[in-house]
Symmetry: D2
């Protein structure tokens, strides 16, 4: 016996969600079957609103709601396409931080230790093959830098310190070289909760060099 | 910085899904933001169809689509409210298998080793307190048994062999006693892939007694 | 810098212990370095006694201490080579249970559900290749059965229900066929604490068939 | 049935080893039972040699073998009590690195990024209660610093960035304050292989500040 087709269809759609397998997808469907009509409507409306209301920032590619942006900026000039960060006059325009994805931007914002602008690259590369590299927003990145060439003083490549993140960094350093800007990476070291004994040599070496 | 309210709202709704925390919920939202208009519509339609098309079986509480049930049965008699299993004339009506939830029914069907009917209890109890017990479909179960009292020969209590499942079984055995039917439980033993050395004494004892 | 050679040597010896890697082995050595002279001596004496005092049962290969065996048995007859189980007159000599290793024997004894004799096979096979099969105590097993051919009524093959355990069972069934004895296996089913939803089809099918 | 007393005794002794529970201890014993006489003797000799041959460095508490130390140093002067690191004239005596335990020293040595001396504290504290603090080699540490007060320029407190490690650092900073030395800690940041998204705010904040 298999599931009815309406249920099966929805299991398949939920199975495409990140981290979701068919078993979890089935649990989602049974959860919805037990939900009230009002809860279902609320969910449908929220999903539907997502594409209607949320815009993608024309500078950094961060999703935002136009209503979040103060009317002082962008009024009548189409600059409403900038997200609250990019349209915030108190952000430091000398700093550009390149992140892989939206959640990385949020994670950095939560530290409250960074006040510059961002650029969401849209992925990482595991090789420098053309097919891989074309998935990244390289042209858009180059354009942003050209257009703000005099403002930008430092470009922070905030990719993950993983193999893919490193490959991406190497590629970006090559792409960014012509602009003659200071290019930095996030500092390596021991994270909170780590144990020296299990740290790899590179991490511990960086932690020693970066002692203070 | 927090997420825009439309995103935040949807993160909250997805966080109510079983096994989903806020971080995974956020990934779901960014997945949807990257999906095409057509994909979003397909998802919304599928969710919307769920409540419209899927019915709950009036005997066993299994969700099903009326179109699944052959027109030979139930036509004009309101028996269209029976799921394909309950309306299948070749199923053995002498056997009633009580399961906790929908996915357990599907899991048992997949073994192709059971040809009787089911009853989805809707939960388990951790105690015999009234508030706990009232969440189960006990009245409906009693009604089903009364209405088929001459057909039913064996009632299989197929709860999980966990503490909660055992408490539920004890309660069901008390509830079912007056009907004077053979009440059985799933056999205990070593599961595929197990190692003797890590088996608990009760499981291994059952495996020894049930050797063949 | 590496460890001093005395420490390095002991790390290597401990690394041969089952489940122990070099990091854990190093922790063992530092633990010993911090132990008192008396504790070290106690450990050395216990290891040294192991081979001196513990004998291997000449029937089932179970390790035992001769002093465990009541003097009524074996006195002056070299039967002191039988372990307490094999020399216990109240054990059922009609039953022979073949286990993979010593700890499996202990695990079964702890259930108190088995009162027959054992035979420790000394391993499992992943294939029926000669090199694999030769590691098992097949000749010894055949000899035990031949010598007790009239007593033995049932041979329980209590290997793990894993791929290796199954291969071993298939091989044993072939080896044991000529003796025309009842050959049984441990019962399959749901172990204590399992959840139906995550049970494989074979296990759940066995649990259904073995219901009671 | 329980294990013979010789086996039981050894299981108990092995169960005291770090990370070892009774089940693993039993596997150790069966491993030894299967080992040859020569292997057992080798193990016993190695354990026995440990206390006879290995000395504890009179400066840093690092275990070492006197034969490791070149005869040029310490001959006839009792300075053979210094480990190869402490007696190596090319190590930088301006730097003193305080580590919790022996394996941490080895881990740092393996990075080849540190050329100073060490001091093994012998533990960490979870509180500043007297009973806790007395387990550490505080008096010995104070003595070492006093005796080399003019050489030491920087004291690196290389405890784990865990709650216990932090408590220990706070305590050490208080203890070391009177000596008016530069006191540093290992740098915080993202370790190799980390993902930004799962980094805590403090770690990511440090990684941003420590960018280069």
């Amino acid at each position: 016996m298999s599931y009815p087709s309406t249920i099966q269809k929805l299991i398949e759609l939920f199975s495409k969600f990140p981290t979701v397998g068919p078993r979890t997808a089935a649990r989602f469907v049974f959860y919805l079957l037990k939900s009230s009509k009002e809860e279902i409507e609320e969910l449908i409306n929220s999903i539907s609103n997502l594409k209607k209301i949320v815009k993608i920032c024309s500078f950094c590619f961060n999703p935002f709601e136009p209503s979040q942006v103060s009317s002082k900026f962008g009024e009548g000039k189409g600059e409403g396409d900038l997200c609250p960060i990019c349209s915030n006059p108190s952000r430091d325009r000398n700093l550009l931080c390149i992140v892989e994805k939206e959640t990385d931007l949020i994670t950095i914002e939560k530290t409250k230790k960074y006040n510059g602008l961002y650029f969401i690259l849209g992925g990482t590369v595991s090789s420098l093959r053309k097919a891989d590299v074309e998935k990244l927003r390289i042209k858009e990145l180059q354009e942003r830098i050209k257009n703000h060439i005099e403002l930008i003083k430092e470009i922070i490549v905030a990719t993950n310190p993983t193999t893919e993140g490193e490959a991406t960094t190497l590629y970006l350093e090559r792409v960014l070289k012509p602009y003659n800007k200071r290019i930095t990476r996030l500092g390596r070291g021991l994270p909170v909760g780590a144990e020296l004994e299990y740290a790899d040599e590179e991490t511990l070496g960086s932690a020693l060099e970066g002692r203070k």
